[in-house]
Subunit: 217 residues, 4 copies
Amino acid sequence: MVVKTKIKDPDLIQKRQKQICRGAMRVFRHKGFHSASIREIAKASRISLGSLYDYIEKKEDILFLVHSDILDRIYECLNMCMDAYESPIDQLTHALQELLNLSCEMKDEMLFIYTETKSLESKYLHEILKREAEFTDSFEKLIQRGVDEGVFDCPKPRLVSNIIILVGAIMPLRGWNILPYHSSEEIVEELIHITLKALNVRGESVPGSKSRVVAAT
Amino acid sequence: MVVKTKIKDPDLIQKRQKQICRGAMRVFRHKGFHSASIREIAKASRISLGSLYDYIEKKEDILFLVHSDILDRIYECLNMCMDAYESPIDQLTHALQELLNLSCEMKDEMLFIYTETKSLESKYLHEILKREAEFTDSFEKLIQRGVDEGVFDCPKPRLVSNIIILVGAIMPLRGWNILPYHSSEEIVEELIHITLKALNVRGESVPGSKSRVVAAT
Amino acid sequence: MVVKTKIKDPDLIQKRQKQICRGAMRVFRHKGFHSASIREIAKASRISLGSLYDYIEKKEDILFLVHSDILDRIYECLNMCMDAYESPIDQLTHALQELLNLSCEMKDEMLFIYTETKSLESKYLHEILKREAEFTDSFEKLIQRGVDEGVFDCPKPRLVSNIIILVGAIMPLRGWNILPYHSSEEIVEELIHITLKALNVRGESVPGSKSRVVAAT
Amino acid sequence: MVVKTKIKDPDLIQKRQKQICRGAMRVFRHKGFHSASIREIAKASRISLGSLYDYIEKKEDILFLVHSDILDRIYECLNMCMDAYESPIDQLTHALQELLNLSCEMKDEMLFIYTETKSLESKYLHEILKREAEFTDSFEKLIQRGVDEGVFDCPKPRLVSNIIILVGAIMPLRGWNILPYHSSEEIVEELIHITLKALNVRGESVPGSKSRVVAAT
DNA sequence: AATGAATGAGAATTCATTCAT
DNA sequence: CATGAATGAATTCTCATTCAT
């Protein structure tokens, strides 16, 4: 899916739309989508109001571009992470760890996705949900492979992959209630531990953690 | 916290504000808070525009009233549910079951809470988060009692209670990805199973479920 | 001219309308006529919104009542003052002195008259201007009598009486620029002095002033 | 002080704000500030509602612009007039004459200033009063110079300059009561005569008047 | 390609007035 | 006579979008 523009040069489109994404997100962070005016977005993007409309057609296009940009960044990280390991357990633990790290670093962006996806118009909504579904699928496949290899015990991999993705957003969604009591490192470690326990993995190893290495093999 | 009105009769205030809540929610369901106009809300509430403003001061007041109303309904159900049982395991399983049932029946309302809490103005936001925190606390205490009684194994009850509440919203937040593959009954059952497993409960019994009554390890 | 009411008892009308005048003026003082809402006026008058409308028909009626009330108070004082003296010079000096004193004590009221008379609807405007004209007439007659008696030199008594009345409002209209430099007593004394000079009165006596008594007859 | 705009081109701002001033004044003349709606003002200014708000921020800004514009016009005339003469008597008589002429030609504008200055918000009110004060100062200095040169007898120049300015608005404020009896030329001539008399000027000459050229006492 | 001025539909909110009790 | 809840027209202001330069 592509946003219709008045401009021909594809490189310029790419560059300016990225510029708009970053500017827009800077505004959305504080005011949300609806309260952000196109004027503010143009100013934050260091682009004129007229030019802005050369690269998009409607305000909602920006919402889609920002969604796309955020998902791109998240999925790229996670795919790289999964590709770096072979065994399902390693893949899962590292992917989960990466997801949780991202949810710290990109807290605002993830919260934005959770709160503003509903504002997408139907055409864009389906596109974005399709991409989210693909992402969930990759987790599901990973778990299924673990089940097939006998390292995971999980009768409903789709449900569990959805839980994982939901819990992957625990920082933006529930951080306000947890962070005053636990550091993000503690949270990440414990969440991986719980996940592996829920998958009946015995003798887990948590990457980057000393305290639990004793239980390894 | 109370919304300032021009009306004196407290019963009438109560009645009309409830009326407004229901009407407003009917509109918010389809359009969200920002896209819903005050005129639509008035119409849906079967109240005149002028009268509406006799019972609130600003549009944001409606957002708060709706939040309050939804939380009231959810928390009342859950408190009744917890009070009906003695043992932490029974309390937890029934509360979780009730929470998940509510998240089916009040899917839109819960999604609304997750997506629009950010639109509350500071004063109201704090009030609502305070109530959510109290709710989380009651889950935390429940788990802690289970730990004290030796039936739960859980080093970070606060984290886990937050996970439970987050997962309690899995229907509104991830239902679109799960429900095409599993019935809500299946989901509820499996989620309770996973939760108890995460708490290291051996020999669990799921209420209303036959299949798992003897499903010990 | 009389404001139409729903109430019969004339004493009650009198009493309540006075009550409304005082309440309304309290609000007008700070916000002016247009920015004052009927609700505020009712509250300040310690009368219910419904009752208020038993004693007036429209908001403008209040404006007229307040105008009437203020003019009544001013003219009553001045008429008493003029009646207390015989000679034109005494009458003029004491009337002017009284007028200037009133313009200190009723600064807000006089300013209100000057700024809000234009808001009166035609019917009321004519009534109020008629009363102001009568008031100007009485000054004009006073001056004319002085001219006839040979104590004043004034070819255009009407113009001068208008000047006197205008200067009588110098406190509310220009006080902000004068009062930081001169006390109101100084101002009053000097204004009387100038007025008598303008009327070619030689050897004037200013009431209540010591400094100028030496110049007395 | 400058009204904040969304427009960058300063010439355009100047031009449009003047356009708005004139349009607004056309409406204010009949209805006053509060009763004039922004829509009417836009229409009278031959500018669209949206554009209007590109050149101002709030309705009150228009009030300030109009005040500014009127004072500019008046003060420019008077300064030119004062600069054209050397002696205090000439300056005073010509300035007074000019002021009274202006008060005939700009009757509505002056009345507007007197009745609507109170509607200015604090920030603007102070600015406008500052300019009025400067204007009064210039009259005070003129009188003081006359006193220093021995041609005026005036112990309180500040008070007298305020009287002059107040009397300078006699046409808009009291014209309704005088003009049916005297022509504006008569009024102007007599007012100058009285003023000079009040300043103890002997052997005055009124500009443009023959009858009084030798009218010494 | 880029700029920024122009537009008007639509938003929230206020308030004089009426009317049932 | 008194009360205060109800009404909806009118108001100010915002903002996405277009268009001339």
